[in-house]
């Protein structure tokens, strides 16, 4: 972008500046660290100049939004045409309670639904299972059967909203229930839109909600990708997630590299299944975290787009430009929120949300300020939503596409992110792929070491967390109101479940389970069988039990 002569002139001038102007400033006001690094380990310079991006070719490396390499955005007009989807993760208690929260959020201006399930549901246990005791509805909504799902979306037309469901192992069951609700509402299947997280690989080293062993888990993920490619064209079968990897302790660079690698693994598994890459790749979506280091995050989002586009083009030879799009949902970071002085979390969330917007996200969830204490109250979640709306309507950042393009710092950091992520990808390739790396404990060790390093930095005050290790107060002046889950919810849920089991046609249930067992043994795509089963009110737990019998249960490899 700059000619050699100009670059040399700048270099000379910089060196002069370092010799003449800089030293007196350093004497008067020494820099507070000998080295400035972001948590990914990248060295941050004092000042960035065209020298740092001298090899950049605008047309090759940046291009225009909506065109390869998609660095500047997957859409040509980005937020000028359509704002990102404001999609607030929500769910607690019974389906009725969450239905109410969904409607509240839609009324307050969110533009997409996102469902949080409780732990028993996530692990494939019905609300009346012994492992579910004390956990029903506590950190998400309890869904044990189609009946619960019907109540959850009561009064919400599925052809007018899109819904994201954070579910992994039992994703086939929850998707089947959603489809069944859509069928009930007479919504044509081609119109049903939304996302299932369905990213089982990251469970083994990040979110840890794995039920079945790696190979079977990837098989289930691929089942959904295949089924959607053929029957649910508006559904994003998988949300390849970096959020949990990051929250488990990874750096931004590791989050980027490991997420992209999981994406590669799913593309490979689906191609192995017999599909052509352009048949399904355009519906793969991604999910990242946004943490506090503003520019590191922006660089990460941008690097992610270009990296994925290159991989799809060069590694998988896609022809359809849409197959090269990295469409992402971002959630502001949960682990950076503090319990002391919780109002400070609004500030944190704002910085993180702004980074996501400047990074070009398609969809955004902002955390509520009370989430280091428990699930958000209505007031808190409204403030979180308003944060997005203020950014969208009052800050002016949406008036142009990719406003930070051309910044010497941001472009240099984006390049470095991409380069270093590629090194990781090569390393994992050499190890034999994602599953091999999981079995060797590679991801787990990287994450555990980064997490430990982060905590040491906090312990040693090399990393300041306001209100936690600095600027602390003795006592909170105005303790905030917390959302408490009524223990009655568990009882109500169990009563409903028992009613469902009594009133259904148990002969049909038995048949459906036998059919499912057979299909699982035979390695068929389970979606059609699961949809049939949920429609006769086979429960989530009953289906998971069949899969557990055939696939076995996964026991974690511990690396600290």
């Amino acid at each position: 972008m700059f000619d050699d002569e100009k670059i040399n002139e700048i270099k000379r001038e910089r060196e002069r500046w370092e010799k003449t102007t800089l030293p007196k400033w350093i004497r008067q006001c020494p820099e507070c660290k000998s080295e400035f690094r972001n948590h990914s380990g990248m060295l941050i310079k004092r000042v960035y100049t065209p020298e740092d991006i001298k090899a950049l070719d605008y047309l090759r490396d940046l291009g225009f939004p909506g065109e390869y390499p998609f660095l500047r955005g997957v859409h040509a007009t980005m937020y000028r045409g359509r704002l990102w989807t404001m999609r607030m993760f929500a769910g607690y208690g019974t389906a009725e309670q969450t239905n109410k929260r969904f409607k509240y959020l839609l009324k307050e201006g969110e533009t997409g639904l996102s469902t949080a399930f409780d732990y028993p549901t996530i692990m494939g246990y019905d609300s009346d299972h012994s492992m579910a005791k004390g956990e029903v509805g506590i950190c998400g909504v309890a869904i044990s059967s189609l009946k619960d799902m019907e109540i959850l979306f009561d009064g919400i037309p599925l052809d007018q909203v899109t819904t994201s469901m954070t579910i992994n192992g039992p994703a086939p069951m929850l998707l089947a229930m959603y489809v069944a609700v859509g069928d009930r509402q007479c919504v044509p299947r081609e119109k049903i839109g939304g996302t299932t997280q369905n990213d089982n690989l990251k469970e083994f080293f990040a979110q840890k909600l794995c039920i079945f062993p790696p190979k079977s888990s990837v098989k289930l993920t691929t089942d959904i990708i295949e089924y959607c490619a053929r029957h649910l064209p508006r559904w994003n079968p998988v949300s390849i997630s970096g959020y949990h990897i990051r929250e488990a302790g990874a750096t931004a660079l590791q989050e980027l590299a490991f997420t992209i690698y999981d994406g590669i693994a799913y593309v490979e598994s689906t191609i192995e299944r017999g599909l052509k890459v352009d048949d399904f790749a355009h519906r793969l979506s991604f999910f990242f975290a946004s943490h506090n280091d503003f520019f590191e995050e922006i660089a990460k989002f941008r690097a992610a787009r270009r990296l994925w586009a290159k991989i799809m083009k060069e590694r998988f030879h896609t022809k359809n430009p849409r197959s090269m799009w990295m469409r992402m949902h971002v959630q502001t970071s949960g682990c950076t929120l503090t319990a002391p002085q919780p109002l400070n979390n609004i500030t944190r969330t704002t910085i993180q949300a702004l980074a996501a917007v400047l990074g070009g996200t398609q969809s955004l969830h902002t955390n509520s300020f009370d989430e280091a204490l428990c699930l958000p109250t209505e007031e808190a979640v409204r403030v979180a939503l308003r944060t997005q709306q203020v950014i969208a309507h009052e800050s002016g950042v949406t008036n142009t596409v990719d406003p930070l393009a051309g910044s010497y710092y941001v472009e240099a950091l984006t390049n470095e992110m991409e380069e270093k992520a590629m090194e990781y990808i090569q390393k994992i390739d050499d190890m034999g792929g994602a599953i091999a790396a999981i079995e060797k404990g590679f991801f787990q060790k990287e994450i555990a070491d980064s997490a430990y390093r982060y905590q040491r930095e906090i312990d040693e005050k090399k990393r300041i967390i306001v209100g936690l290790n600095e600027y602390t107060i003795e006592k909170e002046e105005c303790p905030i109101k917390l959302l408490r889950i009524d223990p009655k919810a568990e009882k109500e849920q169990i009563i409903r479940l028992q009613k469902v089991k009594r009133e259904r046609d148990n002969r049909k249930v038995k048949e459906a389970l036998e059919k499912l067992h057979y299909a699982t043994e035979k390695d068929e795509n389970l979606m059609p069988t699961v949809i049939e089963a949920v429609k006769v009110y086979v429960t989530l737990g009953e289906i998971t039990e069949v899969l557990r019998e055939v696939y076995g249960e996964y026991k974690e490899l511990i690396v600290i």
Partner: protein, 135 residues
């Protein structure tokens, strides 16, 4: 004879909560402080936790929970410890536990509750100062 007494700590994850970052960081910190740390892995029932504490003859149990289910699970764990005669084991907890729940938990004999981001040195010192005396 050379006595080689070590402090043995059980770090446990009760219930279905799968957030283990804190538990693992604390386990590692305690190991680096010279203690023997037994880690149960995820998704432990109160019965499994107490039985493990008994078999491993631990001095300390650290319970980590971020799902909000502490109100249901902790009383059960403390009750079982009493039943099995393990009243000389010191128990502390960490995770997402609102301040207003702490008095109730301390009444159960949980010695201290540490919030997210508590310096590991604080936890190490606490353990060293509060290990139960063994006859």
């Amino acid at each position: 004879m050379q006595s080689t007494r070590k402090i043995r700590v059980l770090i446990a994850k009760p219930g279905l909560d799968s957030h283990d970052r804190g538990a693992k960081v604390v386990a590692r910190a305690l190991r680096d402080a010279g203690m023997e740390v037994i880690y149960t892995g995820l998704r432990q029932t109160p019965e499994q936790i107490v039985e493990t504490a008994l078999q491993e003859d631990v001095d300390v149990i650290g319970l980590s929970i971020l799902s909000g289910a502490h109100k249901a699970l902790f009383p059960r764990i403390m009750e079982l410890l009493k039943q099995k005669g393990l009243t000389d084991v010191m128990v502390f907890a960490g995770g997402i536990i609102p301040e207003e729940d702490i008095p109730e938990l301390k009444k159960l004999d949980i010695k201290e509750i540490f919030g997210p981001g508590t310096p590991t040195e604080t936890i190490i010192q606490f353990v060293l100062e509060n290990i139960p005396k063994r006859t």
